[in-house]
């Protein structure tokens, strides 16, 4: 059943991603991106990374994608305008796709050891929070005479510094984006004729 679920989710995700790449209408591409991101969130949930899956939906779908769609609407010039890509771009895309695809297949073909995958969910929100803070739940790991390097006594790495750095980073980005996107007094110029020449 897990395999069936994975096949369904992978179809949605990859199908959506291919549609994003190939659809020339930007708004439709945004909708296929929505399905792709929801598919990826489903795969996170399938893998047991529950918090990451919920964050993916909350941040990516509910935040980033809405931002992208707003951007599309604010910069639209004609209803459903489409821009054609040049034939050299399409050739480059095919070549690059072939290269990346062959690298991926070559690396993954021998197969990877599946390891001891545990059942159920990965460590949940509480454990993630403790990891971010660098504390451990003392009641679960009482002081015992375990040898050094045993899993239970390993000091948990704290991700507090990256967490704080990212918080400041988000603040900086917020201020920068608000400043860069501030309303201007002059209206945008008409699209120049040079854009339609052959490159």
């Amino acid at each position: 059943m897990i395999v069936a679920l994975f096949v369904v989710l992978a179809t949605i995700t990859l199908g959506g991603a291919i549609a994003v790449a190939l659809d020339r209408n930007v708004v439709r591409a945004a909708v296929w991106l929505l399905f792709t991101l929801l598919g990826v969130a489903g795969i996170y949930l399938l893998l047991g990374a529950d918090f990451v899956g919920a964050t993916q939906i909350l941040v990516y779908v509910g935040g980033t994608l809405v931002l992208l769609v707003f951007g599309v609407m604010l910069t639209a010039q004609a209803p459903f305008m489409q821009l054609q890509s040049h034939w050299t771009d399409r050739l480059a895309a095919i070549v690059v796709a072939g290269l990346i695809g062959s690298i991926a297949v070559l690396v993954l073909w021998p197969g990877l050891p599946s390891g001891t995958a545990r059942e159920g969910s990965l460590p949940g929100t509480a454990k993630l929070g403790e990891a971010l803070l660098g504390v451990e739940d003392e009641s679960q790991f009482p002081l015992t005479n375990l040898p050094i390097g045993a899993a239970r006594n390993r000091p948990r790495t704290a991700y507090l510094l990256p967490f704080e750095v990212i918080s400041v980073h988000l603040l900086v980005v917020l201020i920068a984006a608000a400043y860069l996107a501030r309303p201007r007094l002059a209206p945008p110029p008409a699209p120049s004729q040079q854009a339609e020449e052959k490159p």
Binding site: M1, A4, V27, R28, F51, A54, G63
Partner: protein, 422 residues
Amino acid sequence: MAQAEASPRLSREHAVTGLTENLTSLGVPADWAGLLAALTAAVLLVTFVAVSALFFIWLERKVAGRIQDRLGPTRVGPFGMLQTLADGIKLLSKEDLVPAAADPILFRIAPYIAFCGSFVAYVALPFARDWVAMPLSVTLGVMLVLAILSTEVFGVLLAGYSSGSKRSLYGGMREAAQMIAYEIPLGLSVLVPVLIAGTMDLNAIAGRQKGTIVSWQVFHDPFAFVAFGVFFICGLAACKRAPFDLAEAESELVGGFHTEYSGLRWSFFFMAEYATMFLIAALAVLLFLGGWHTGVLWFDLSESLGFFGNVLNAGVLILKAWLLVFVMMWIRWSLPRLRIDQVMTTCLHYLLPIACVLLLGAAVWRIGAPRWLADGTPFVLAGLTVAGVVWFLYCVVATRGTLPTAFDPASFTQKPTTGDGA
């Protein structure tokens, strides 16, 4: 904080796992049993949402009628209860209209995205202690509900854009701006009961409120009391209900983002709206108002009565949620609509700082409140609230049958002025 989050009770029977076990014991292979159980849960939830929507539409029209001093639907069925069914049949038989300027694929997808954006969250909603569709609520709970609520914006945005008409686009963009702006104070105000309970698991949060009314989290400290208000207001905005219903502002934008929709597609938007209303109400009940506990009994019914106890608990939860939905409708038909700049000002200038202060205050209260304060506040708050509700009901009953003085012609002392100011 660690002691509140004990090891997750994975041995608890969730609806899907419980059903799966029942089916496997009947001889169905394990994988198919899981799929069948999930389908059953989904069908039950869809049925519940659809029947709720039917009931809400009738309730809305009755409430609207009574507030506007008229009767509402009375002819179709007893008390007009079958009016919604008649409306549904009418909607089904309407012409399937897609405007020529509309994007054909997006126009058709948008209602379903809007509906899924609120319906999928029901998966994580516990209706009773043992009745929750998916075990995800152990690690995720509230977060999953909030995450899925945030995807409803997309349905609105797409509907507005793909209709190919200016009014729809404006309605859609204003509505999307409102919904994403109000997600922030919504999330912050949800964090207050999560902070008090120490877990995001909705089942655990509701289970914590076992007992009489003083154990309800809304009375736990004054910050939670205000957080309930903030949550309710933000929930109103998330449902696009008045006074935040610019998207459907009939007097301004015809229909806003759903102007070009008719028939069954339009009804999907309204099912989505009522589904979100019930979701917000149920979330408020679970987080603040004691969940499925009655508030007068000091024990949990499901512990003593098993399956029947679960039925009673689910009934209590649904009744409380319906009461909150009634309050939402009451607010809609009493208050005027806010302008878009007023909507955004309310969110960013008022509710967001208030929510931040509430979060800080709740954290400080949990760490540093002296014992007598922490124990006494629920009684004070609960007592004040009960007294307020009793006084309000007394006022309603005492003034029954009388007009408000503003509408009593005998109370007019000024002569009405003529049009040209003479």
